[in-house]
Symmetry: C2
């Protein structure tokens, strides 16, 4: 199976690329390096079967040409940051919704019909059911990011119904681990390196989130792609754990050896569209035999260690 990974130079994408190469699959990475990093592909680039095409997914002729001859697309390219949507509402629309449409159209033109789409638990908005299953009540969107990924899911499903595509949709919680380069752990580590004595916490610190280690996440995706049954299969990807922002900050401070004073911006949400509680029901994945191997605490602290060793990411991010 010749694999095509959009956003393959990103945090999750580059781990997926490594894993597909480990499994003996030829892999083409398509990335515009707007947020992806060449350094994340250093190991992959030295291996047989690897190919890199630099390009924007919305450049349809380029994408179509690059896609020819592949069997499956893993579509990760896009804006992955749920915050800041209101700063520029076009960003999520263009980088997620329109980009997904462009990928699907290029696939149709190139005769490639298998797609794994990387969506988000943010599509559940503020759910009423915890842990939240894939068949939760029809959600109401609370962020432009969630709305843009929901739109992408809808397009993938419609191409499955209308054009005989086979789709796998993954609704991820936040992912942690090596090459992590945006989100709360980066923010806290950056702040604490600048001032170890005091730190600002968005919201009241009680928001509860779930996280998954990047290698556990990639295991889940590869397993589900091998086992899904319908034309469209949807999988939550998360752990059975959740932690508060304050707990996560405890673990980060422990690793950094700091005891800062915490200043809270207040409110139950860290930003407009922030979900006060995220906890996904991942029993569909578990039924396939998947188990996360890394706890949230371990994932947070491994991420801190990685950022300490790769301080250049703190400056770039």
């Amino acid at each position: 199976m010749r694999c095509f990974v959009t956003g393959g130079a990103g945090f999750v994408g580059s781990h997926l690329v490594d894993r597909l190469l480990d499994d003996g699959r030829p892999v083409t990475v398509y990335d515009d390096f707007s947020t992806g990093r060449r350094a994340f592909l250093d190991a992959a680039a030295a291996r047989p079967g690897f190919r890199l095409v630099e390009g924007d997914v919305r450049d349809e002729p380029r994408l179509r040409a690059a896609l020819a001859g592949h069997d499956a697309v893993f579509h990760l390219a896009g804006n992955a940051d749920v915050r800041r949507g209101t700063e520029d509402p076009r960003r999520d629309l263009e980088r997620n919704t329109l980009a997904t449409s462009a990928v699907l159209e290029a696939m149709r033109a190139a005769g490639v019909r298998r797609i794994a789409f990387f969506s988000t638990g943010s599509v559940y908005g503020e759910p009423a059911v915890f842990p939240t299953p894939e068949q939760a009540p029809f959600p109401v969107q609370t962020s432009l990011y969630g709305a843009s990924k929901l739109a992408g899911e809808g397009l993938v499903a419609a191409y499955c119904a209308g054009f005989g595509f086979q789709g796998r949709v993954f609704r991820l919680v936040s992912v942690l681990g090596e090459r992590y380069s945006h989100g709360h752990v980066v923010d806290f580590v950056r702040k604490l390196r600048a001032d170890p004595h005091r730190v600002e916490v968005l919201g009241d610190g009680s928001q509860r989130k779930s996280y998954v280690d990047v290698r556990d996440c990639v295991d889940a995706v590869v397993l589900a792609c091998a086992h899904g049954s319908g034309p469209v299969d949807i999988f939550n990807v998360g752990t059975d754990e959740h932690c508060s922002v304050d707990e996560s900050l405890d673990w980060i401070c422990e690793r950094l050896g700091t005891r800062p004073e915490r200043r809270y911006t207040g409110g139950t949400r860290g930003w407009p569209g922030d979900s006060p509680f995220i906890h996904l029901d991942c029993s569909r994945l578990r039924a396939l035999g998947w188990r996360p191997r890394v706890s949230i605490r371990e994932a947070v602290q491994r991420t801190v260690d990685y950022l300490q060793r790769n301080a250049w990411l703190l400056e770039l991010a």
Copy 2:
């Protein structure tokens, strides 16, 4: 309340315009006449408080200028035909998803924050629950039309969360009545006028659909806009009845005085993405006191009578 109606020259839009004017509201219609008809506005145009701006909703500067000074937007402009999505996948994306984004951005720029968004029961895909409530399990899209309206709903909700908008979302079944100009009744009447002896039926004729009369629909929208409570309120709009394609054809033939031989294209779906069964739970609307006054049979036959009196629509559609 100064009202702004995108797609106000369309079938449903023009009835809404008439109703708002009846209620003493000043109304601006914004329409590009790509599917709307000037004739549908003849009565409205003669009344005080009516204003027409000809334009495409994706022309943001023009839309923004026209919007200034209004209190609420009724956004109906877009592709309203669920069939033919696969002929040109860009159509639903551009006319529905991107157009809705453009309307929301223009509203934000113009400081208008109340929107009634006309969505569709097609967003439920092929639901497992009948009658289907607004809180049905998270649906899987089966048409590009449904996907494009789902994306629009997501954008509306995200603007409510992120920018303090107040949204009303209406998920309509197919609408019938005067000025109806596309859909199965037009198709059958056109075919039977061409050949009263035989008629082709898409699918096996057993698909069951629900319909609502256009004036009942407009009543529902006006009532719900006056009563909704949350930042985003979602309402199904349909009747408690449903009928098969064959039953509907019986009523059409009865009205036309024909007894054609029926030839079925076969299968449980009339086209890719057709839902074999549509029946929405409208108890949220009913709890506000709304009752449809026109039965499906009556709505079908009134539509036939209207098309007989306005045969020009059969040629144009």
